[in-house]
């Protein structure tokens, strides 16, 4: 079967299992040793037997330009930047929220958060300009 809209979904497939998530419903992916947790908008946390780097490859390959909403944050995290609600560099936290259904507070290094904030600032200026 050919999936015509595969560009809008991230498909993580191995062996007898397959996970297919609409890109906009994906909030973040966290590394856990050789595994990763895929956290989606409905509050589910699916474990997949891929390392974060491999999932990063999948995002690049499958989503193309639509994958630019995601960013790799150090060794442990891939986040959907559309849901960045707040960044607190001093507390080293980033909050992902849609201001309605979910709110996830994640830890990241100070350096990464500075870069994330700079990126969002730059993007905002681009839109304003």
């Amino acid at each position: 079967m050919r999936l015509e809209k595969v560009g809008k979904h991230l498909v993580i497939s191995r062996g007898t299992e397959l996970l297919r998530v609409p890109a906009e419903r994906l909030i973040y992916i966290a590394a856990d040793g050789n595994y990763s947790y895929v956290v989606t908008q409905d509050g589910r946390k699916a474990m997949v037997s891929f390392q974060l780097g491999q999932i990063e490859d999948m995002i690049d390959e499958q989503l193309g330009e639509a994958g630019s909403r995601f960013s790799r944050m150090g060794r442990g995290l891939i986040i959907n930047m559309d849901y960045v609600y707040s960044i607190d560099i001093s507390k080293q936290t980033v909050v992902l929220s849609d201001c309605l259904h979910f709110r996830h507070e994640l830890s990241a290094s100070r350096e990464v958060l500075i870069k994330l904030k700079a990126y969002i600032d730059a993007m905002t200026q681009n839109y304003d300009g």
Binding site: D60, Q62, L63, F70, R72, G74, C99
Partner: protein, 297 residues
Amino acid sequence: MTDNKTNIQDDEFRVLGHRQEKPVEPELTPTPRKWAGLVSLLLILVIGLLIYFNWPKGEDPEIDPGVFDPAPVKLDPETEKLPLGSIPDSLGTVVVERIDTTINDVQLSLYIPHNATTRLTVGAPDAETRKAILAFQAADIRADNRQILGAFVLKGKPLAWGLSKKGYCAIIDGQMTIGVAENSPLFEEATEKEGYFFRQYGLVDNGKLVENEPKNKTMRKALCDRAGQIFVAVSQTDESMHDFAQALVDLGVDNAIYLVGSHSAFGWWRNEAGETEFFSQDKHRASFRNESYIVWE
């Protein structure tokens, strides 16, 4: 996977999605070999059709609908009318989902019971009640005589009458209805069908804010109905009744009534780890005889 990706450091940040999408394989012109394959396929198809139409017809065997070709499911007309989530799934796992959110600077925790049944209790929670996954104080108590304030029905038995507050909650045949009205036929129906009924301040009436007297700020709690989903909203900060109700309106709540608030109102929820967390600061305080609770089990 590239070495670059496995060797990433904790201070590295990069935006994804910049690699070209995998190019779609172009359709090639069929080669003679492919033509041969197509002709063979066509022959097989023709032979298959011939066999099918000449096969002796008997009773149609009962064929199980496949996963990818599900048979349409006809719902009971009464069930079809009910909003999603209004009937608990008795085979599902009974859990409480907690969602934290901020609306208009009001920090809210939403406690959503799944697959649970609801009832009211009166008096200090007994051992059976303590097994509930979610519990909140329901009706208020009169300061003068410690009686339940407003109409109240406990498993079909009316324990109190009167209209002091316009918000109401009725649980009849396992279905909860929340609303704001001076008179509700659901009080009588609850008495006839061994149901439950209590009154509280109305906060949201069909998506519109209801103003109330109390102006002080404290921890607020509300029983909410949003598109048929029942949940309890608890403010994590001290809020006025107005700001709390406005946050619920902005959250998209259709109907909501107040639940006994303040930091001393007793209640609890069972978290994902199965541990009980209490809403009140003092979990061992003495209960009043007529304290009522709404519990999910």
